[in-house]
């Protein structure tokens, strides 16, 4: 219990300092705030125009697609707030930032995880939330207590899956000193695979996106659960159990890969 309180006090103060740091440069935040809604608008508009012409994609109507996209967006927003530093893991490596973390009597992965809170990401969450609520209206989502609880754990689990995928792949920076290409690749892959229902892809790809990189658990299975659509997979449990469970498993794996990379860390000159 004391240990938990200790970690929480360090985490909250470290995150607070990181936010204060960004508020020193407000213009950057404002300009990004203006950009982000446009980025999301293109996604939802794409789905809208596609369904206008095709009536449905893989059997999914526009409201259902919007719901899928909404869960994807919201989990992306939360990930962008709390763990966007994964994208820039190579900077931490090249600037020797892990030196300092290694000198402190705390888990390095923990220090890395709490070293940054992205204020700009709050806009991602807000936009994601509005897209999601809009889609909930479209599909006539029933706001019962149990549905809300299921939704919250699913979205948190989905954010954890996204963040862990980035940790795992960006840890390549410990060996190669670069990860911006991997970051871009993963971002593209995640956007394309969470925008459409998994069923439009060939079976092999579906299996890969379920078993190898568990993208399907981010929004596809949970949307199927809520909307009563057949996912063509038999899950052992409800999405509200599966998504957070897969989130925790990938998170544990991510830590292991990160620590493996850290052992390979060579610091930087001087």
């Amino acid at each position: 219990m004391d240990k938990l309180r200790y970690y929480l006090s360090v985490a909250s103060y470290s995150m607070k300092l990181s936010m204060k740091k960004q508020l020193e440069y407000p213009m950057e935040i404002i300009s990004c705030f203006a950009m982000i809604p446009m980025m999301y608008a293109t996604g939802i508009l794409l789905l809208y125009f596609l369904t206008q012409n095709l009536k449905s994609i893989g059997g999914w109507t526009f409201p259902q697609l919007a719901f899928l996209y909404g869960i994807g967006d919201l989990s992306h927003g939360i990930m962008v707030v709390f763990s966007v530093q994964n994208w820039f893991l190579d900077r931490y490596v090249n600037r020797g930032e892990f030196d300092r973390m290694l000198l402190r009597p705390l888990n390095v992965f923990f220090q890395f995880s709490v070293s940054y809170v992205n204020i700009i990401g709050i806009m991602d969450v807000l936009v994601g939330l509005s897209v999601f609520i809009y889609s909930c209206v479209l599909v006539k989502f029933s706001w019962t207590f149990s549905n809300i609880v299921r939704l919250v754990v699913i979205i948190l689990g989905a954010a954890l899956i996204r963040s862990s995928i980035f940790t795992i792949f960006c840890s390549v920076a410990f060996w190669t000193k670069r990860c911006s290409a991997v970051t871009a690749l993963m971002n593209d892959m995640l956007e394309r695979t969470t925008l459409y229902p998994m069923t439009i892809y060939p079976r092999l790809l579906q299996l890969m996106l379920t078993l190898i990189i568990p993208v399907a658990f981010i929004s596809f299975f949970s949307s199927c659960c809520f909307l009563g659509i057949d996912s063509s997979f038999r899950l052992p449990a409800d999405a509200a159990v599966m998504t957070p469970a897969i989130g925790i498993i990938t998170f544990i794996l991510a830590q292991a890969v990160f620590n493996w990379g850290l052992r390979n860390y060579e610091s930087s000159g001087s």
Partner: protein
């Protein structure tokens, strides 16, 4: 009591040799020519509690790599290092709690925030109690004058103020061992003075063991009871500065000003090394003849107007030491 012991510590880095031009870049992509660099090569030493040890050596000699291995940032390729009997890799968290570390070229302070906010974070990380924190901050203020600029963002501090802030940050949790990597780099005379005063003070007051790397020989002369000279990853000299000086440069010089330029000056126990008009330089060994004896001999035989004694320049001596090692290629390890 031995605080730090390094036993045959080695660190090898593998680098790929790049050749010139696009063709070279391509060929090193296909056939990378790997070169192993011995950054630190079989280094052994022991450091007692309360010592102030200076690590010196030219750039790239392996000083920082040695410090990084002692503090657990880098894993040695072979050999071992122990701090208070514990390995900084296996028991990292336990070991680093006992360490304070300052990298002169890199900051641990939050660049955009007030200095005090970085201290607040450290207070939480090291679980320093409120009363302890207050007492430590008061002491830091007494010695380093921290309160003067604690409310200023770090980016607006002068280098001297920032370095004082770094030292305070490193000592906030009262670690018994302090590592300083080039703590006086780029500082003015006043800045260097206050840093040295601080180091002496904590060493005397708390018996803090201090390991510092530096290029500034004044740091070494004024602070260090012991000097470890590293070159090409090996220990070249290890001992008190005076001993090394005596061994390396046993000579002193007597500079005479004589009445007329034409006189040739000779003495059986001193060499005339230079004669410029009225000025004559004689080199002699302390062990062979005392300065007073030499002076009285010469004054008796020659028309001496004025004289002074020059001690060997430590800087010259160190330069000799670096060069010596370059020529032989292998260390004169002892």
């Amino acid at each position: 009591m031995i605080v730090i012991s390094a036993d045959q510590l080695s660190k090898k880095f593998t680098v790929i040799r790049r050749e010139k031009g696009l063709k070279g870049a391509l060929s090193s992509l296909i056939h990378p020519e790997k070169i192993t660099v011995n950054a630190v090569d079989n280094v052994s030493f022991k450091i007692e509690k309360g010592e102030i040890v200076g690590f010196i050596g030219p750039n790239g000699a392996g000083k920082s790599t040695t410090v990084k291995m002692m503090t657990g940032i880098l894993h040695p390729t072979s050999g071992s290092v122990e701090i208070n009997g514990l390995s900084p890799f296996k028991d990292r968290k336990k070991v680093v709690r006992e360490l304070g570390v300052v990298f002169g070229q890199r900051t641990q302070l939050y660049w955009d925030l007030r200095l005090g906010e970085s201290f607040e974070l450290l207070k939480r990380i090291y679980q320093i109690s409120d009363s302890m924190y207050k007492a430590n901050m008061k002491q830091m203020d007494e010695v380093l004058g921290i309160n003067e600029f604690i409310h200023i963002p770090v980016r607006q501090l002068s280098l001297g103020q920032r370095m004082r802030g770094e030292l305070a940050a490193a000592m906030l949790h009262s670690p018994p061992v302090l590592f300083l990597d080039e703590p006086t780099i780029g500082l003015d005379v006043e800045g260097k003075h206050s840093i040295r005063k601080f180091i002496r003070e904590i060493n005397q007051r708390y018996g803090t063991t201090v390991i510092l790397t530096t290029h500034d020989l004044d740091d070494v002369e004024q602070l260090c009871s012991r000097l470890i000279v590293i070159n090409h990853g090996r220990i070249v000299e290890d001992g008190p500065l005076q001993d090394i000086a005596e061994r390396m440069a046993p000579y002193r010089f007597l500079v005479l000003e004589i009445a007329s330029p034409g006189i040739g000056i000779r003495h059986s126990l001193a060499d005339t090394v230079r004669q410029n008009g009225n000025q004559v330089w004689l080199r002699f060994r302390k062990s062979e003849i005392s300065a007073s004896r030499l002076i009285s001999d010469l004054c008796y035989s020659y028309p001496v107007l004025d004289l002074k004694i020059k001690e060997p320049d430590i800087e010259d001596m160190i330069r000799e030491l670096y060069k010596l090692n370059d020529k032989t290629g292998s260390g004169v390890c002892n």
